[in-house]
């Protein structure tokens, strides 16, 4: 699960967490006792269109500098990350 969640957990912490998650899952399993036979399989609330008209774009690059200044590593206006495809 830690791998799926992409968190590098040390073994000793995994051990502690395992016990805690067992406790929590035991407790939240209470929901399985509820009688939900009258609840519809899917619940769709009232729908409305929340999309705006595709118009009035802001000037290109207006926010680039401020946004990139929060990035750990950049180069020429791009985020710099490790290469994904190994040779």
């Amino acid at each position: 699960m830690a791998d799926l969640a992409r968190i590098d957990m040390p073994d000793n912490e995994l051990e502690e967490l395992r016990g805690q998650l067992d406790d929590i899952l035991g407790y939240v399993s209470e929901v399985q006792k509820a009688d939900v036979s009258n609840v519809p399989a899917t619940i769709v609330p009232e729908l409305r269109n929340v999309f705006r008209e595709d118009a009035e774009p802001h000037r290109g690059g207006a926010f680039t500098e401020a946004i990139l200044s929060n990035a750990p590593s950049t180069e020429n206006g791009f985020l710099k990350v490790k290469k994904i495809i190994e040779k």
């Binding site: 969640a5 992409r6 899952l25 926010f63």
Partner: protein
């Protein structure tokens, strides 16, 4: 300047009549912050230019310009809201040094109304917690008794208002996080209807449960802040327009529901006794009361601690050490992600992400997440049924008074989770709820506040304000 007993309403009157200026008022709060924040740890950062902003408002007032409803009012902002140009961290190491590039809608509206922002307040990391002990920058202390927690996750905002370090504050409430700290600190906390205040610019925790709300000294002040911040926002697709029903409440007709099947396990008997006293007080004020049943709220915490972590695991995926936030180098790109996320997140955040990953994973999804969403519908139906015969529902805000720092956090995480027992139901349903001070219990010579929670149907915040004001004897 004596800040005790001061409210937003009174301060606005005093500034209008020239009794004091915003600069003097802001100076008084900054002096209190200087004196007490070292101990309380309510603020993570102070905006040094607050005095300059206050002077500008004073100049505009002197010129007779038309001013907003909060012109010159010193306020505190939970560290979960974007405030342009300021460091915003959600009390996490992962966002250390992160400078917000825009204002959250709630913050923009406060500014436009003339509020003076004093600084960012401490909280549980990413709002995950009920005690404000999960901050990466140290726990917040309760101004009522500094050995105790102020509640969480908006503990810094509640401690700032209760301790005279701000005249009002905003927080976010996903399972308890505005109402519980307000109750622990003896102030007022409002969780409005889901979507009534835009969440654009609030760092998301669990999107179907997150709400924005004010923490104030009085119900009247909560109403003022709600009116400033509410309304539909094109930048938050879940935002809704308030009904504009305010003022239409006829007190003669109000029937208040008292649930007869509240959970009592782990609930301090003094809390239940206090609820009884509050019901008698409401009856003396002329309200009719009626027993109601909410049979499924006993499932509120189990379903909450499935749905919330599930949404947390999705929302926290954005913190990957690439676009913003802490970056720790690994052997490859995946290693970068994993090491950055371990180093950046605290224990509770990691716990919830992994728990959420589990309840959403193939093979467990139906038994946990899907079942929890259906139970949530049962809870919604309970409230809908109850509101067919009553105008409001009352219950305690918390299962006990503020506890001592270190007592619950050192034991099982579950002990902290059940603190949300009375507040989480309305995060599931989205109904508006307010916590108002309802009395005290004495422990070790300290008077620890308790809160009464009042709940109304969707978009009927006006009912909460009306009952809350009369309950507290305002006006």
């Amino acid at each position: 300047m004596n800040l005790k007993g001061l409210t937003i309403k009174k301060a606005m009157e005093s500034m209008t009549s020239g009794e004091f200026t915003s600069e003097e008022l802001t100076q008084a709060y900054l002096a209190n912050i200087k004196e007490r924040n070292g101990e309380l740890n309510a603020y993570l950062s102070i905006f040094e230019d607050a005095l300059e902003e206050a002077k500008k408002v004073d100049q505009m007032r002197a010129k007779g310009k038309k001013l907003g409803p909060l012109a010159g009012i010193p306020m505190a902002i939970k560290d979960a809201f974007m405030v342009k140009g300021r460091e915003v961290r959600a009390a996490s190491k992962v966002l250390q040094g992160h400078i917000a590039t825009y204002d959250a809608t709630a913050v923009r509206k406060l500014r436009e109304a003339g509020a003076i922002l004093l600084g960012m307040t401490n909280m549980d990391e990413f709002a995950m917690g009920a005690s404000s002990e999960n901050s990466a920058y140290g726990p917040v202390r309760n101004p009522v008794d500094t050995l105790r927690v102020p509640g969480g996750s908006s503990g810094g905002s509640a401690a700032a208002v209760a301790g005279g370090l701000a005249l009002g504050a905003i927080g976010s409430d996903t399972g308890c996080s505005v109402r519980l700290p307000a109750s622990f600190c003896g102030v007022v906390g409002l969780k409005p209807t889901y979507g009534a205040i835009s969440r654009h610019g609030l760092i998301a925790m669990a999107s179907s449960l997150d709400h924005v709300g004010p923490i104030t000294n009085t119900v009247g002040d909560a109403e003022i802040l709600f009116d400033v911040m509410k309304g539909i926002d094109p930048l938050d697709s879940t935002s809704v327009e308030s009904s504009g029903e305010a003022g239409k409440v006829d007190n003669g007709e109000i029937i208040i529901g008292v649930p007869m099947d509240l959970p009592t396990d782990g609930v301090d008997p003094r809390v239940l006794a206090n609820l009884k006293e509050s019901v008698v007080r409401l009856e003396k004020l002329g309200y009719k009361t009626k027993e109601i049943s909410l049979p499924n709220i006993r499932y509120a915490i189990p379903s909450y601690y499935i749905i919330c972590p599930a949404e947390v695991s999705a929302n926290m995926a954005r913190f990957d050490g690439m676009r913003y936030g802490l970056h720790v180098d690994g052997d490859n790109l995946l290693g970068d992600y994993k090491r950055s996320r371990y180093a950046g997140f605290g224990k509770e955040v990691r716990r919830r992400i992994i728990l959420g990953t589990y309840v959403l994973s193939a093979g467990y999804y139906d038994a946990y997440y899907y079942q929890a969403t259906r139970v949530r519908e049962l809870i919604r139906q309970d409230f809908a049924r109850a509101f067919e015969s009553v105008n409001a529902i009352v219950m305690p805000t918390t299962p006990g008074p503020a506890f001592k720092i270190g007592t619950k956090s050192k034991r099982s995480p579950l002990e902290m989770y059940v603190e949300d027992i009375f507040t989480a139901p309305t995060n599931h349903t989205g109904s508006p709820a307010i916590s108002v001070p309802s009395g005290f219990v004495e422990e070790e010579g300290k008077q620890l506040p308790l809160g009464l929670q009042i709940i109304a149907p969707h978009l009927r915040e006006d009912v909460l304000f009306s009952i809350g004001k009369r309950f507290l004897g305002e006006e």
